[in-house]
């Protein structure tokens, strides 16, 4: 274990209600600087809602979020965007930019009304493209990239934003396994505090420092993969039976699922997705 680092992020008693309904209730999280936190849980557990509260798209009903010891509500929109970069899945249909221009969007929070893109900015963009291995794709339309390349381009944009905290909503969605591993290892190499929501528990176990397990808007447990991923907890939250063994390479939990649920009437996990 490294020496204890200062807390990059601290969430205390966070709740978010949609109307009368609590989507998130009393979530508390702390994350050290430079660590990677994986937010896991079934569909509708509140993963995306939690992230949206973190990047101030939603205003929490209750609770405090502090970034590097400072309440996130005290940042201006621009200052906050200089601290926190976010990679989402919502690229619109009508999007006519080259990869390089998309990556250049990361400059937005660092630029005033009159400032032009400097030579240093151009170097930053080129370096970010090189970091994610897309230098050759710089001048191609973003729309023509493959799924994995698109995701890497979005991460390059976030790198140009130079944040302390990088938040990604399901960055491995729709990617084949090679790209899933590649994206997460890329994120680990960035020397930033990273929070991702992720569905693949084995991937989360292998590559996240910390995991936060959510269920129906409640925080079940936060801890290392070994603390979070055990047969009993996976069984009760996800409603599947499994066997957990140490992974032969990294030693973190390796989950083997059991199959054949159709006749057993497992209703525990039947929930309404909002």
């Amino acid at each position: 274990m490294d020496d204890p680092q200062p807390l990059a992020l601290s969430i205390k008693g966070l709740s978010w209600h949609s109307g009368q309904r609590a989507i998130l209730a009393d979530i508390s999280v702390s994350l050290e600087k430079g660590k990677m936190l994986g937010v896991i849980g079934p569909n509708g557990a509140g993963k995306s809602t939690l992230l949206r509260c973190l990047y101030r798209y939603l205003v929490p009903t209750r609770g405090d979020i502090t970034l590097l010891g400072q309440d996130i509500n005290t940042f201006s929109a621009k200052a906050f965007a200089q601290q926190v970069a976010v990679v989402l899945q919502d690229t619109p249909h009508y999007f006519d930019m080259t990869t390089q221009q998309l990556v250049g969007l990361g400059l937005t929070p660092h630029k005033g009304a009159f400032s032009l893109t400097s030579a240093q900015d151009k170097r930053d963009i080129a370096n970010a493209l090189a970091t994610v291995g897309l230098t050759e794709r710089a001048l191609q339309p973003y729309e023509q990239l493959s799924g994995g390349e698109k995701q890497r381009a979005l991460i390059a944009r976030a790198i140009v934003q130079k944040p302390d905290l990088l938040i990604l909503d399901e960055p491995t969605n729709h990617l084949d396994i090679r790209y899933q591993i590649q994206i997460l290892e890329l994120l680990r190499s960035l020397d930033m505090t990273v929070i991702i929501s992720i569905h693949d528990l084995n991937l989360a176990s292998a590559l996240c420092d910390q995991l936060l397990l959510l269920d129906k808007g409640l925080s079940v447990i936060q801890g290392t993969p070994a603390q979070v991923l055990n047969e009993q907890q996976i069984g009760s939250v996800f409603g599947v039976c499994c066997q957990v063994t140490p992974h032969p390479q990294h030693g973190n939990p390796q989950i083997n699922y059991f199959y054949g649920y159709s006749g057993h009437g497992m209703t525990e996990h039947d929930e309404v997705v909002p």
């Binding site: 101030r56 200052a79 965007a81 009508y94 080259t98 969007l105 937005t108 230098t135 050759e136």
Partner: protein, 350 residues
């Protein structure tokens, strides 16, 4: 890494001739365009008159008065109108992320027509052709008020959801357009044929009324709004990536979109009030520039191309028929619909 600068230079080499061409055409166009019209005037004559005017030795003969008092203000007005409509169209297409957005999206055109019809049919029946001072003042004012009312109604209909639901905004604009269209038709139905003819001519657009005196207001409004839009260029481009992503880039998307909408409405209302409703330019020119310069947000180029396009459409309007002028809106609509059929055909072929 090493290939990038070379490729970027290659890109500049490709783009530069195009920009130079646009600049050259922009310099030549006023001189050539001023030689077209009912009176037979040569390009060299235009050049002489302009040089004489600049050096303070104007002769005051008939052809120099035609050039200085009729044709040049008209050319300037056409340029300002085309510039403003093209910029407004490009920006609206970006902030609404809707490639079919145009400056008349929010009922501005139909609202302006209604305002003008109210002035013509109800307030003393001034006709555009009468040349009375009243028509010069009250008609643009009525059109501007009508356009403003239309925009305010669209905003009121959207209410709080304005920012979050682009679709609602677009649909409100369509509804308001139809409503004002119906009211205009109703008024015209009960008015005389003289009023109907002048309203029709006016609502299809014309630069015939342009003079140095009426030019300054559209010029100032378009210039100030364009500068303001350029200051927010980075933020406007970021909205392309989606509202939520733009939010994470530190942009107040709701406020920015509302301000941009108001700026574009101001441009359009002033232009409609002075030149009538000229369709398709704000829709078509941004698409043409995007085709020529793919993947760039070339606002000024879009504006210049729009202005030049409008000057030449006006030349066509003056020269196609020897005995009378054609309304601008008819020509832009013909070119615009043809252009879109061409684009659609090309898209299907691919």
């Amino acid at each position: 890494m090493n290939t990038l600068p070379v490729e970027m230079m290659g890109r500049a080499v490709r783009v530069l001739p195009l920009l130079l061409l646009v600049l050259l055409v922009a310099l030549m166009t006023p001189l050539i365009a001023a030689s077209f019209g009912a009176a037979d005037i040569q390009v060299s004559q235009v050049l002489q008159v302009v040089i004489a005017q600049l050096t303070g030795q104007s002769q005051g003969d008939i052809s120099s008065r035609i050039i200085m008092e009729l044709r040049l203000p008209r050319i300037m007005m056409a340029f300002v109108a085309g510039f403003g409509l093209a910029i407004a169209g490009a920006v609206l297409q970006t902030v609404t992320r809707n490639p079919l957005a145009d400056p008349y999206l929010f009922g501005i055109s139909s609202g302006a027509s209604f305002g003008a019809v109210v002035v013509i049919t109800l307030l003393g029946g001034v006709s555009v052709d009468s040349g009375a001072w009243l028509s010069h003042v009250s008609l643009p004012v009525g059109a501007f008020l009508g356009a403003s009312v239309a925009v305010l109604m669209v905003l009121a209909l959207c209410g709080r959801s304005l920012s979050t639901q682009i679709e609602r905004m677009l649909l409100s604009g369509v509804a308001i357009s139809f409503m004002f269209g119906a009211l205009t038709s109703l008024l015209l139905y009960f008015s005389g044929p003289q009023a109907a003819a002048s309203v029709l001519f006016w609502s299809l657009g014309s630069f015939a009324k342009a003079s140095w005196a009426t030019l300054w207001l559209p010029l100032v409004v378009v210039a100030v709004c364009t500068l303001t839009i350029l200051l927010f260029k980075r933020q406007i481009i970021a909205i392309k990536a989606g509202d939520e992503t733009a939010h994470t880039l530190g942009i107040n998307v709701q406020r920015l979109r509302l301000n941009i909408l108001l700026l574009c409405s101001l441009i359009t209302a002033v232009l409609v009030a002075n030149c009538g409703g000229i369709g398709f330019v704000g829709l078509m020119v941004p698409h043409i520039v995007r085709l020529l310069l793919p993947g760039r947000f070339a606002l000024l180029t879009t504006g210049i191309v729009g202005g030049l396009f409008m000057i030449w459409v006006d030349v066509l309007a003056r020269c196609l028929l020897s005995y009378q002028e054609l309304p601008i809106g008819i020509i832009t609509a013909v070119i615009g619909s043809g252009f879109f059929l061409f684009i659609l055909g090309g898209k299907r072929g691919r």
